[in-house]
């Protein structure tokens, strides 16, 4: 019986620790929601900042974040999906493939601020894009690449081998098989992973510090060569660089960023659930 009691105590301790991890997450969301909602208004979402960012809205930062996320999607999605197709459908199990896999793992582990330095060195300075939406999007794309590659490979892997064999036996080439048999069945998984990857990119601050983020820019960016205000950096500015910003504006901005990231996550989860139900193999 003693062992039974020990087990009971142990399991309760495990439960308490788990709650200690999960409860703050709930509290953070509640805190942001309760303090952020009063700050939200039509004006806050659609006006430019005024009065040294202590009044007005955050419209340019919202637009900047959307542009940057779209720019990241444009570069990282095709490259990531094609790379995953190569690794999963074409590559042989050899040393070269192993090196590519290790490179992907290392890309995933490079600190975000190092991506910032890299973007500054290559895109901003060497290629002469300047601090711009283009440079920021490219930097974030490379950072997001490992997430998209990994998610796509998982999705491709989940398509049963027999599907491919049937296609080959009908005389289809490898690319025809990928295009007409494997990809259509893997699309939901690819979308889910891609959206999650982009939602992370949307919330990143360190890689965009020197590649695109503008401290204060009271207009919308006109081209991909323009700097832009972006929400994560704006939060940093509001909470550390500008004194006497009202709590309403700070939390309101945080709520908008979390809201955007959250909507993308819910979309990803919804896609995953929806297509998982339909799978029949």
């Amino acid at each position: 019986m003693d062992e039974k009691l020990k087990q009971k105590i142990a399991f309760n301790i495990l439960l308490i620790i788990t709650i200690l991890i999960v409860a703050p997450v709930v509290l953070i969301f509640l805190l942001v929601l309760v303090r952020g909602l009063p700050g939200l208004s039509w004006e806050f979402l659609t006006a430019i900042p005024r009065d040294g960012m202590r009044a007005g809205g955050i419209f340019p930062a919202i637009v900047g974040t959307i542009y940057l996320t779209l720019g990241t999607a444009v570069f990282s999605i095709p490259l990531g999906i094609l790379a995953a197709i190569y690794l999963n459908e074409y590559a042989r199990r050899n040393a070269l493939t192993r090196i590519i896999e290790l490179a992907i793992i290392n890309l995933a582990g490079v600190p975000s601020i190092v991506y910032g330095l890299f973007g500054l060195g290559l895109f901003v300075t060497f290629l002469g894009f300047g601090a711009s939406i283009l440079a920021g999007s490219l930097t974030l794309s490379i950072m997001t690449l490992p997430v998209i590659i990994t998610a796509t490979r998982e999705a491709l892997n989940a398509v049963p081998q027999s599907f491919r064999e049937v296609s080959f036996s009908l005389g289809a080439t490898r690319w025809q098989t990928v295009r007409h048999v494997v990809l259509p069945n893997a699309i939901p998984g690819i979308l889910t992973g891609t959206i999650l990857g982009l939602s992370r990119a949307a919330g990143e601050t360190a890689p965009i510090l020197f590649t695109v983020a503008a401290f204060y820019l009271p207009r919308l960016p006109q081209s991909v060569y323009d700097q832009a205000m972006v929400l994560p950096y704006h939060i940093y500015v509001l909470s550390t660089q500008v004194p006497n910003v009202s709590v309403k504006i700070q939390y309101g901005t945080v709520l908008v960023l979390i809201g955007m990231v959250f909507i993308m996550n819910i979309l990803a989860a919804w896609l995953r659930a929806r297509f998982r139900r339909r799978k029949v193999w």
Binding site: K4, K6, Q7, F11, I13, I17, T18, I21, V22, P24, V25, V26, I28, V32, P78, L79, L82, A83, Y86, L87, Y90, I99, I100, A103, N106, L107, A108, G109, V110, P111, S112, I113, V114, L117, F118, G121, L122, T125, F126, L145, P146, I149, T173, W175, S199, R200, G203, T205, A206, L209, F210, P232, Y233, Y236, S239, T240, V254, L257, I258, N265
Partner: protein, 293 residues
Amino acid sequence: MKRPFDFIIEKLVFLSGFASIIFVVLIFVFLLKEGLALFSTFGVGNFIFGRNWYPISDPPQFGILPLILGSLLVTAGAIIISVPMGLAAAIYIAEVAPSNVRTVLKTGIELLAAIPSIVLGFIGIITLAPVLKSIFHLSSGLTALAGSIMLAFMAMPTIVSIIEDAIISVPKSYKEGSLALGATHWQTIYRVILPAAGSGILAAMMLGIGRVIGETMAVLMITGNAAVIPTSFLQPVRTLTATIAAEMGEAVAGSEHYSALFAIGIVLFIFSFIINLLAEYFLHRGPRRKRKK
């Protein structure tokens, strides 16, 4: 036989496959290109072991020892907190929790992973720092300890999910064998399952360290940013990452200060490279991972 479009796209597929290698090399090359200049004027030894980081005094000092120690201190604190807690949570989620509770807990931890680090930094300044300040009677709560707690929290999703995977991939027969011999579930967990998942736990620790040492915005906001050699968890410190983020904006392109910040990038890059290879090694050493459906 092949249509031209198919031919082109297959070439693109091959090219994209190699892109990751190209990017890793490019990152390293550009860090070296901008950072190596410092070593020729200031010296590698003075850089790594120098005790003073005074980038804008005259003559400037670029010793990053205080920054390295700051990073290590904050990271050590975060790992001491997050690995045991993450292990406990992973065991609970994988082995103990009923399936509906498991779903709730896993969703909670996934939500944590979705919160941008800048938001955690902001919340940390407002909630965690004042609490630490009053508990330890400090002049400011922005300390290494605050950074460690915040980073432990941020590393948690990585650590929990990898340990959970490791626990789940322990062959079922191990568990059944132990239970059949009359061991309780808890005895089975810590005598049979945990040892079998050992290398997964090490991998989780490695990836946790990698995640924590590379974190930038939250530590920049919450560790107090004093570039001195730290002696306690209750004093402000400055990390390698925070230094780059805080100072690059004011460093003149091409100056010594500018290349010193890139040189810090080289140190971080090499460090994360080693940590990730180690993690990869531990991940593939465990019992053969079963293919998940």
